[in-house]
């Protein structure tokens, strides 16, 4: 049996396992939405193969559509339709829909059920979009930036919901520009950049279990010449030095209890007074920065 999909954006190849949450992470223009839309059958790949639930999303779209749920990044409702009307409408297009009242309550939409779509806030429109993706009880849902523009409390509620979907056997594929979201929810994370897959793994695999630490030093006066390199040498082999800008450096490599003492001695020897100094485990954000070389996401 074959499940999941093999996707080509630019030689991009990835497979999704049933009953898991997969996050596709990448900077703007990385090809996240294109990848999703190819899986949803909106785009026909020029080369390569896409199979979703074993089906060709373009040729076998009619068979595929009832089995998947799709949350678009934005829009997609009649401006004059009320939120509950929109959800009822989609419910009636499916054979065994979820209870609309329950779903509205879970997504905190019951208070704005009578509000026309055009008067809903951005976050409410997002949640309605998610509700529309889930109403038909799909096996697989594609959600494009599900919590963009939501306040933290609602974001947590959506995370719980996505967790529950996985628990109930629904497969979730999401794109996100919140690293925290990927780190917390996803079983597997695929980092995409310029249409290519640059890394894949569980969040833990990607951050290599914390054996690597990151040290960031920010100063108010430029570093004395050669000082950063000297620190890297003192910290031992395997340490990587990145000069982020003239006033800040980042070192990543193995760390132990003597690391801070080494840094303190180096500060005294080179007459460096850090404005800030931070030592921490590598997180998904560091991995992401290393791989894509970009500061900002989405």
């Amino acid at each position: 049996m074959r499940y999941g999909d093999t996707v080509a954006v630019d030689g991009l190849s990835l497979t999704v396992e049933r009953g898991t949450i997969t996050a596709v992470l990448g900077p703007n223009g990385a090809g996240k939405t294109t990848t999703l839309e190819t899986c949803e059958g909106y785009r026909r790949p020029q080369a390569g193969t896409v199979r979703v639930l074993g089906l060709d999303p373009v040729r076998e779209r009619r068979t595929l559509l009832p089995r998947i749920g799709v949350m678009l990044q934005s829009g997609g409702a009649w401006s004059g339709a009320r939120a509950d009307e929109m959800l009822h409408h989609f419910a009636r297009l499916h054979a065994h829909p979820l209870d609309t009242g329950v779903l509205m309550e879970r997504l905190a939409l019951h208070e704005c059920g009578r509000t026309p779509y055009r008067r809903l806030s951005g976050g409410q429109q997002q949640r309605l979009g998610l509700a529309l993706a889930l109403i038909g009880r799909p096996e697989l849902v594609f959600v494009d930036e599900p919590t963009a523009g939501m306040d933290p409390q609602i974001r947590r509620a959506v995370w719980e919901l996505l967790d529950e979907l996985r628990h109930d056997g629904v497969t979730v594929v999401l794109t996100t520009h919140y690293l925290e979201e990927a780190e917390r929810l996803a079983d597997k994370v695929h980092i995409v950049d310029r249409g290519r897959l640059v890394a894949s793994g569980t969040p833990l695999e990607l951050t290599r279990g914390g054996t690597v630490a990151t040290l960031r030093i920010v100063v108010t006066q430029p570093f004395p010449p050669g000082a950063p390199a000297a620190l890297a040498a003192e910290l031992g082999p395997g340490t990587e030095l990145t000069e982020l800008d003239p006033l800040s450096i980042q070192l990543s490599g193995p760390a132990d209890s003597s690391t801070l003492a080494t840094v303190a001695a180096w500060c005294a020897a080179h007459d460096v007074l850090p404005e800030s100094l931070s030592l921490g485990q590598r997180n998904l954000e560091d991995v992401f920065l290393e791989l894509t070389g970009r500061e900002t996401l989405s």
Partner: protein, 255 residues
């Protein structure tokens, strides 16, 4: 408890069709601008034209109300099947409604069927209002069973022709351009398309305008109310429907 346990499946096509038609008809009847063009303008045209032609003593070849009411019914079909449909569909494209509906298990045929059914529901409502005003002003109504059948046929063929053209516009232009073009064409056809006024009022141009969907619909409706079925005009409308649909199928952009 497994709230979200997968149980996918599409609803039966019949239910989908009624759901889609109901939603679209509700949205149209709830929209103030759409109601203006669907009912208010036709009623104003009817009352104004009847009063005007009586005042200036225009010879329409019959009682003004009997000549003008069928024309205004034709105008109502045109306003709904062409202008309202084009504008609504243009904005559905613009706001991604068509894209989102494309993710639901709703086939394009069912979606189109729902739209046409919604147009017919709105037209029934228009016919009740306009016909009511006409009767109040002394209209004698369509004569006999053949007349009623003729009105129904004219409405169906007119809806097919104008809906095909409305979709052609909506599927190829931007939403704002569709809005402007749909209103402009409506006004031009209202003034010069032999919808409300009979084609023979246009002198030498009368033979030309009868080949327009507006003229054909107007003539078919007037013949029907006189108790005759205007086969030629119905065929002209059917031809516009076929040509418009073929072009739309080739050019329609869903996004």
């Amino acid at each position: 408890m497994s709230t979200f346990a997968p149980a996918p499946g599409a609803a039966p096509v019949g239910r989908q069709l009624l759901t889609q038609a109901g939603m679209e008809a509700r949205l149209m009847l709830r929209n103030g601008e759409q109601l203006l063009i669907a009912v208010v303008i036709p009623v104003i045209v009817l009352v104004g034209a009847v009063r005007g032609s009586e005042k200036v003593g225009l010879d329409l070849g019959g009682k003004p109300i009997d000549v003008l009411t069928p024309g205004v019914l034709a105008l109502a079909v045109m306003s709904t099947a062409f202008t309202s449909l084009a504008i609504a569909t243009g904005f559905e494209r613009r706001y991604g409604v068509l894209k989102r509906l494309g993710t639901a298990p709703l086939s394009r045929a069912t979606l189109l069927g729902g739209k046409v059914l919604a147009l017919l529901v709105v037209e029934v409502f228009q016919f009740v209002v306009i016909g009511g005003v006409g009767l109040a002003l002394g209209w004698s109504g369509p004569s006999g069973v053949v007349g009623v059948l003729g009105v129904v046929l004219a409405a169906l063929c007119g809806t097919a022709a104008f809906a095909a053209l409305g979709m052609l516009l909506a599927g190829s232009l931007r939403a704002e351009a569709t809005l402007a073009a749909a209103n402009l064409v409506y006004l031009l056809l209202l003034a010069g398309g032999a919808v409300v006024l009979p084609a023979d009022q246009y002198g030498g141009l009368g033979d030309v305008v009868r080949w327009l969907p507006s003229g054909a619909l107007g003539e078919a409706m007037r013949s029907a109310c006189d108790g005759a079925i205007a086969v030629r005009d119905l065929v002209v409308l059917a031809a516009w429907a076929v040509a418009g649909s073929a072009l739309t199928a080739r050019t329609f952009k869903w996004e």
